[in-house]
């Protein structure tokens, strides 16, 4: 997946919209900042989340970090292979390292998310 075609939250989640479905993961910058990942907790299919609500947790040797829903919606699919193979996150964070697919809540817009250029600037300032 081409990272320049994705949308980004300030909390380093990426979003790939496709109609009313949004695939969500975390950026290569986030993966690199975390390093040494040991555990990921993803929500169950059917979970409804508000924008900014906790979507799960990712734990590294150093610390636990929350994953935040970049958009409101219902979890319709989770990447089942990820918890047993966190290397996917390091190797391909924008592709095989995807985390969940959300069906967007009614009226959910993506206007609050950053484009790639804005996100890169955000990371440089972090």
């Amino acid at each position: 997946m081409d990272p320049s075609e994705l949308k980004y939250a300030r909390t380093h989640e990426w979003v790939r919209p496709d109609g009313d479905i949004a695939t969500v993961g975390i950026s290569d910058f986030a993966v690199k900042e975390l390093t040494d990942l040991v555990y990921i907790d993803l929500p169950a299919v059917g979970t409804k989340v508000e924008q900014g609500e906790t979507l799960g947790e990712v734990e590294s040797v150093k610390a636990v970090s929350d994953l935040y829903a970049p958009v409101a919606g219902e979890v319709i699919e989770v990447n089942e292979s990820l918890p047993d193979d966190l290397q996917l996150l390091s190797d391909d964070p924008f592709g095989q390292g995807w985390m969940v697919k959300l069906r967007l809540a009614d009226g959910q817009s993506l206007d609050h998310l950053m484009d790639y250029a804005a996100y890169q600037k955000h990371c440089a300032e972090a």
Partner: protein, 362 residues
Amino acid sequence: MHQTALHDWHAAHGGRMVDFAGWEMPIQYTSIIEEHQAVRQAAGLFDIAHMGRLKFTGPDACALLDRLLTNDVTQLEAGQVRYSLVCNASGGILDDVLVYRFDDCYRLVVNASNREKIVEWISAHTGDADAVMSDETVGSCMMALQGPEALGQLQPLTEIGLSAMKYFSVAESSVCGVPAIVSRTGYTGEDGFEVTVEGSAGLTVWESLIDAGGDIGLRPCGLGARDTLRLEAAMPLYGHELDESTDPLTAGLAFGVKLSAGDFIGKAALLEVQKTPPDRRRIGLTLEGRRIAREGASIFDGERPAGTVTSGTFSPTLNRPIAMGYVTADKAAPGTALEIGQRGKRLQAEIVPLPFYARSRR
């Protein structure tokens, strides 16, 4: 914020710098796990110049230290190193230290986080003893070369016969042609050496070791790997397993306390502790799953609080989470199943004998 003589090297080589006890130190360069494995399998080089280095001279230096330290300083011969605690009058641990005897002086290496406190404590207790303490921390540079290849990597740079050095011995000679103190000591559970040189010579020694060690997998290592390594080796860390409300016997550090030797500050209190078994013990835990139990997490026996986690990490060697902590003495036996509360969930844990990792000695 203090910077070590190697600060600019770290920053130029990907070191992620963090504030540690007022020092700007690298927590990692690439990955804690990769740096950890380098030490277990080859060698790792650590900047530990933030550790406090105190020198003691004068006719009463030995007597002064013997009164301040729980170990028996009077039995130390030149070239020997001992682990010791510094306790307050009630037996609480002020710091854990290494004491080194040289021909003409003694040295202490103290925790960076405790340096100012210990300097003040010693000054306040020197009285009319004919001894002079000088704090050499800022002007010198200390690094640790640890791992099975450490000896082979350091040997070409020094005239000291390293293989003849016993563990916990120290020698004064040169490394890379500059005066150096070399001890066979460390904080990783591996064989290794700690080298102290003048601050201005630190970079030369560091780069010589890095340049020569690339072929065998020697890597610079940060404080992150230092923590996972010492935790696997079950070595306590001040501020985690040790503090002023914990005595050395409860902490499982009786080997650093000589109650049969001369008087020292805290001895009377520790003799009382010795009479009654401690109500809590330092223990090791392995956890099911992959979640890490963090410092401060509560340990439960069913619904009953049984203790607290003092350090937790993911053990790269065991490939599972490990932790140290204190539990009530009745729940301290290896094999005991306990639970740890972490972020609203219960993690399943079992008490195991310490250390988690012990190197095979050839």
